[in-house]
Symmetry: C2
DNA sequence: GCGTAATACATCGTAACGCGAAGTATATTA
DNA sequence: TAATATACTTCGCGTTACGATGTATTACGC
């Protein structure tokens, strides 16, 4: 999938992936895999960004001797998803413009 | 509208805007305005990029004493729109994932 | 028991891209 | 004659996705 197209989707996908249940990096990548692929370096950058934007909080926990950082969505994060849904209306209208122009004979 | 969300759409919008009739910079911006806004610096960058990628060709013409550069879509450009329509299926599936997670109670 | 894969997180440098700012130049209009 | 519209160009900046690389532990196949 085109990188540019992913840019507007990744943040919200990560937020959606932790919305119902706190999760950690490795699991988020696996959960998103059927929908959108992202590398570890990409994800950890995103998580850091979302944390700085106070859209999620972090809590460290040990699991089988390995460190895990669990991410929890905040109200800001939930708001971000809401905004995304609003923006989606614009996206649809843009898509329809493209289709309209494309299918004109 | 979120910049990141625009990134995957702008190229294709510009191609769609010239697909049925050759057009020029200033007009493209106006035609796209109801759907997506972009600055001149953004558009001319995109046009140069699409030209380098052989998705369009350019022809200069004088109009009322002012220079106009008319852009014409190529087969590569048309292919790009087709690819976009294919990728859109993935985008929809991603969107549905977000909605599904968001609406789970 | 030993190599490989899986789990888990972190950092660095790079390239692509949108955009504001600033510039050049002509035509129209108030 | 000043302001606005038309029309294209270039520069630098900030944001972002990603490959490469690194660290460290656990699980599994042979």
């Amino acid at each position: 999938m085109d990188i540019q197209l992913k840019r507007g989707l990744l943040d919200v996908c990560v937020l959606a992936a932790i919305k119902n249940e706190d999760s950690y990096g490795y699991k988020i990548i696996k959960d998103l895999k059927p929908y959108i692929e992202l590398s570890e370096s990409t994800l950890y950058t995103i998580l850091k960004r979302l944390e700085n934007a106070r859209m999620l909080t972090v809590r460290s926990a040990e699991h089988d001797g390995r460190l895990r950082k669990y991410y929890h969505i905040t109200n800001n994060g939930i708001k971000r998803i809401e905004e995304f849904k609003e923006e989606w209306k614009e996206v649809i209208s843009i898509y329809q413009f493209v289709i309209k122009e494309d299918s004109r004979e």
